[in-house]
């Protein structure tokens, strides 16, 4: 066992931790909010508010 072995274990643990945080947040968001709201983004909305295509 040297420092590299510890680093390997640390990497495994951190990976599991990050994956868990991300998945838990995803599940939490998906159960808290309505799917209609979450998927309400539409392409081109910023075109209407920000960009003008008139000459």
């Amino acid at each position: 066992m040297d420092v590299w072995n510890y680093l390997e274990y640390a990497a495994w643990v951190l990976s599991a931790l990050v994956a868990a945080i991300m998945l838990i947040d995803l599940i939490k968001v998906d159960t808290t909010y309505d799917n209609e709201l979450l998927t309400s983004s539409r392409e081109g909305e910023l075109e209407l508010t920000q960009e003008r295509h008139e000459l």
Binding site: D2, W4, E8, Y9, A11, W12, L14, S15, V18, A19, I21, M22, L23, D25, L26, V29, Y33, N35, L37, L38, T39, S40, S41, R42, E43, G44, E45, L46, E47, L48, T49, Q50, E51, R52, H53, E54, L55
Partner: protein, 464 residues
């Protein structure tokens, strides 16, 4: 009923518009700069030193055309998904589906290649410090997961992070060049192979080298993916993209010069981390450490940008129901396409842990190449359906149709270059896209709302 006529309701989620031109530069250059730290040198292996330089400049010309064309179309079609949204408005739904797949595949494969390189680099360093048999897997997995999490948490943080590490990696190349010029290196620069063995494979080798010449710049077109998150897309996107391509032309030429001078071409053609190797040859420890950090940063920046781009493309396709609409979700707090980000993690892992590096790189290059081919006729159709003056363009590129024709010509040469040695992959890849296209046209497209796909407030295209 079209969404384009609905004004923004309060209960709507969209991506967050926070990025400036610097972030666009960081996204573009960040993805690509890793190509200078690894991969480009296989072009020297495929054709010799001169071929490597010719490939570097010809590919540079190809990407200058790409950047010019892309800047014009993207500054006009400012939507997440970049070229995907362009294809949808200009060529048609099936082309858009294909372009979306090109993007996701090119970036996910590149992300996998980066993770593999980080594992390899750590293994090398562990070996130099006397530890053999490092298990690379946990580091590969951690890289992908940590960057996915960063992306999940918000676009501003991930791209600001990219800006810092990309700038560092770029400065590292310049420092290496300047140090070598001022004689820090214990071993002299030697270009005798240029005169002794100029073209070991003849001119065919120059064409063959183009294959990996693309690797110097592959991914610069990813800047368009940020279109929905940039504060002022019509200005920032052309500026960030053009500044990016200039940065890369400088970095690529410096890299070729230092590496070819310090490393025998036979070794260079096989090297895993050429710039780091060049620093090793100089015998200077500070340079070695600098280039080690540079390599690690460049790979991280690239993987980070790839996650950003691939998830935007996947998200846009979900939003239009080209893919299950579940993917078209935006996180209510972080305002990121969080489901797409999470979904692409295991896919990147499959490739990073299971496939050899050159295979992954070739798939990435091929998907990119198909995308550039699309850009050529896309440009012609864009100018024909909406001639100059019919809509406001954020940027108009000069000398049309010259850039599109040059791009088409170089794309053709590059197909031939890939064919020399990797013909099977090319055919396999095409089979994949053909089957996927038929699947989309005859099955998936029934779930797509027709008129809603056209979201730009433009007049009717001419001739339709």
């Amino acid at each position: 009923m079209s969404n384009a006529t609905v004004t923004e309701a309060p209960q709507r989620l969209g991506l967050l518009r926070v990025l400036g031109p610097g972030h666009v530069w960081a996204l573009g250059v960040g993805i690509v700069l890793v190509g200078e730290y690894m991969g480009w040198n296989f072009s020297v292996g495929k054709g010799g030193m001169i071929a490597g330089l010719v490939a570097c400049w010809v590919a540079g010309l190809l990407y200058t055309c790409v950047a010019m064309i892309d800047s014009e179309v993207t500054s006009t079609v400012a939507a997440a998904g970049g070229q995907y949204a362009q294809a949808k408005h200009i060529v048609g739904p099936l082309m858009a589906f294909n372009v979306g797949l090109f993007l996701v595949m090119a970036y996910t494969m590149l992300e996998a290649a980066n993770a593999i390189t980080i594992g390899f680099l750590l293994d090398t360093v562990a070996g130099m410090l006397g530890h053999t048999g490092l298990n690379q897997k946990p580091f590969i997995i951690l890289t992908i997961l940590a960057l996915a999490w960063l992306n999940y948490r918000g676009v501003l943080a991930s791209l600001s992070f990219n800006l810092v590490i990309t700038a560092f990696a770029f400065v590292a190349i310049i420092i290496l060049f300047v140090s070598v010029k001022f004689g820090v290196s214990a071993v002299p620069l030697d270009f005798s192979a240029v005169t002794n063995e100029p073209l070991p494979y003849g001119w065919l080798g120059v064409v063959a080298a183009l294959h990996f010449g693309l690797w110097y710049y592959l991914g610069i077109e990813g800047t368009c993916q940020a279109a929905e998150e940039v504060r002022s897309p019509a200005r920032s996107l052309p500026f960030g993209t053009m500044a990016g391509i200039m940065t890369l032309l400088i970095a690529a030429t410096l890299t070729w010069y230092v590496c070819s001078g310090l490393i025998p071409w036979e070794y260079l053609g096989n090297a895993g981390t050429p710039l780091f190797d060049a620093a090793r040859v100089t015998g200077n420890t500070s340079l070695m450490v600098l280039l080690f950090i540079g390599t690690a940063f460049a790979t991280t920046a690239s993987a980070n940008g790839c996650i950003n781009d691939a998830s935007r493309a996947w998200f846009s396709m979900g939003r239009d129901r080209y893919l299950p609409s579940w993917f078209g979700a935006v996180h209510p707090r972080y305002r990121t396409p969080y489901r797409s980000i999470v979904f692409l993690v295991p896919i990147a892992l499959i490739f990073a842990l299971g496939a050899p590096l050159d295979q992954v790189i070739t798939f990435s290059i091929l998907s990119g190449l198909l995308g550039y081919t699309f850009m050529t006729f896309n440009m012609f159709m864009f100018r024909r359906k909406w001639p100059l003056g019919s809509i406001k363009r954020g940027y108009v590129h000069p000398w049309h149709p010259l850039p599109a024709l040059v791009l088409l010509l170089i794309c053709g040469a590059t197909y031939f270059a890939v064919f020399l040695g990797y013909g099977t992959q090319l055919i396999a890849m095409l089979c994949f896209y053909i089957i996927a296209s038929l699947w989309f046209h005859f099955w998936r497209y029934r779930f797509v709302k027709r008129g809603d796909q056209f979201t730009m407030p433009w007049p009717r295209p001419q001739g339709y």
